[in-house]
Symmetry: C2
């Protein structure tokens, strides 16, 4: 694994590596949202990506970057969310073994999705310590490579390819791009791509009030935890890593907060008006634009819709 | 209004007329559904169409085909569904007045959608007689032109443009196209387009068991009503018209039935796997393919996803 922040060349190489395995997802527009926000919005539909989320990109790049003598021992991670599917999916593409540690109370639909890709699941109790211990044991026994969901430069370079495509497909006309921030893999990759492949496109991070660690970290200049964690945007609960934080600090313009009510309203708007399924975390950037629309008036805005793995049996509306 | 079945030239002219006002909706594919059905499926996403349904096409063509001295008096229709929005939308595009009769118990979201386009709504009690009487009165008082939701050759020619695009965008490689049948506007237009613009693409109609009038009509060779009407596919409740039935009889290969359970399962599959919002009526063709997949093995199948105006507060799952 590389030990340095992805360069322009690294991200271009990552894009070549992952492109055969992923969708070049469409960029959609909506006159309704343009009118509502008084701006021009360009939605990068990563909800249509393989596994239903952008994380397929990072997982693929991390696995495809491994040398053959490492790959033969497989890969391992812990996740109950999209990263688990991303690693299981990516490993299946190259015929590698994937070991996924999942909390024993994970939703059945997520377990099934990981199983479908032929990954080996180990269940554990749902604490960070138990998860890490289970992965450490697997790595010790099998020689598998642990792939962190965001604090990993190959993962960051993979996620960066979404913004690279968005910039290309909008012909580098965007004033800004906005993406959600959880651990920071996507937003740091997005910020790097804007820096390398656009002329002056600014990058904003959007985060739920109920997981407001990035804004604290951004202001205090060190990695902070959220004062409390309670939000429907269950993909954004984690705090930043020592690889993602410095990139965010250097390249991101600002961090914007939104409430769960605003997330749910934006999510419902997307479903009703654009007829697309977006998960709560994926609606966070649109919610931030709607909340701050006076500041963004007249701008051309790229919006990364990160995923569509919503639980249809448990909708908030 | 023309009194003859749309010709190849009529449909080409309709396409030119409506194209500036509508989306050329994307054709999506899904490896999941290809595997599930053992066939190659091409989904024409009319859920992304203006007003969220293909009916924008027919409404536009009917209104744009009116001579100026008719248009000046406006247009009128009765509908609680997508046709109401289609007429309100199409009239607003050309600055014409739209009079829409809606049952007084219509969902607020549908009423709002019609109002947003500036149409004048008249409420009536929810019987076919009361609706028709209300429209007749409006037509008598205003000189507005009544636009039937399906039994109208301009509407049929407009709906035909969806299949024309689908055939063009799949380079005329489809073995068959399948679309739902209610009053028959879409399926008759689809069948005409397949006949004019493809080389041997067959057309199948799909219909709910709880509104099984088309299959009866198809077999008995006269317009029949359904033995009972009870289905979640609320866009398909009506029976065929004297303009749509002869076209269906001549150009459609077969009518396939599906149960409400199958419709709901197909709809949920579309939402979960393709991340798109499709209304119950729009999931009927996919349900028919899944039910009859042994018959369609190895085929290239065009599937018209007719609309995405699902009621999020009242989902069947």
């Amino acid at each position: 694994m590389s030990g340095t922040v992805p360069t322009r060349e690294t991200i271009e190489a990552a894009h070549k590596l992952v492109a055969p395995f992923i969708h070049r997802t469409p960029v959609m527009t909506s006159q309704f949202f343009n009118r509502l926000c008084g701006a021009e919005l360009f939605f990068k539909c990563e909800n249509f990506q393989k596994i239903g989320a952008f994380k397929a990109r990072g997982g693929l790049n991390a696995i495809l970057s491994l040398p053959a003598d490492k790959l033969v021992n497989g890969v391992a991670t812990h996740s109950s969310g999209n990263h688990a599917q991303a690693i299981a999916f990516a490993a299946s593409r190259v015929g590698a073994k994937a070991y996924i540690v999942m909390p024993e109370n994970s939703p059945l639909v997520k377990i099934r999705a990981v199983e479908e890709y032929g990954a080996e699941i180990t269940f554990c109790v749902n604490t960070p310590e138990a998860r890490q211990e289970a992965v450490d044991q697997i790595v010790a026994h099998t020689g598998a490579t642990f792939i962190h969901p965001f604090n990993n430069y190959e993962v960051i370079a993979g996620q960066a390819t979404a913004a690279k495509e968005l910039i290309e497909d909008t012909k580098d006309t965007l004033d800004l791009i906005i993406a959600p921030v959880g651990g920071g893999g996507l937003i740091s990759g997005t910020a790097l791509s804007a820096s390398y492949f656009s002329h002056g496109t600014r990058v904003y991070a959007a985060e739920p009030e109920g997981a407001a660690d990035a804004i604290l970290s951004f202001k205090s200049d060190k990695i902070e935890k959220a004062p409390y964690v309670k939000t429907i945007a269950d993909g954004l609960l984690t705090y930043l890593g020592d690889k993602t934080f410095p990139i965010i600090k250097e390249y991101v313009t600002d961090v914007l907060l939104v409430s769960d009510e605003e997330i749910i309203a934006a999510m419902r708007f997307l479903w009703e008006r654009m007829k697309i399924v977006v998960e709560p975390s994926g609606a966070v950037p649109l919610a931030a634009i709607i909340r701050n629309k006076e500041d963004f008036k007249g701008k051309k805005i790229g919006v990364i819709l990160t995923g569509g793995n919503a639980h249809l049996g448990k909708l908030p509306f």
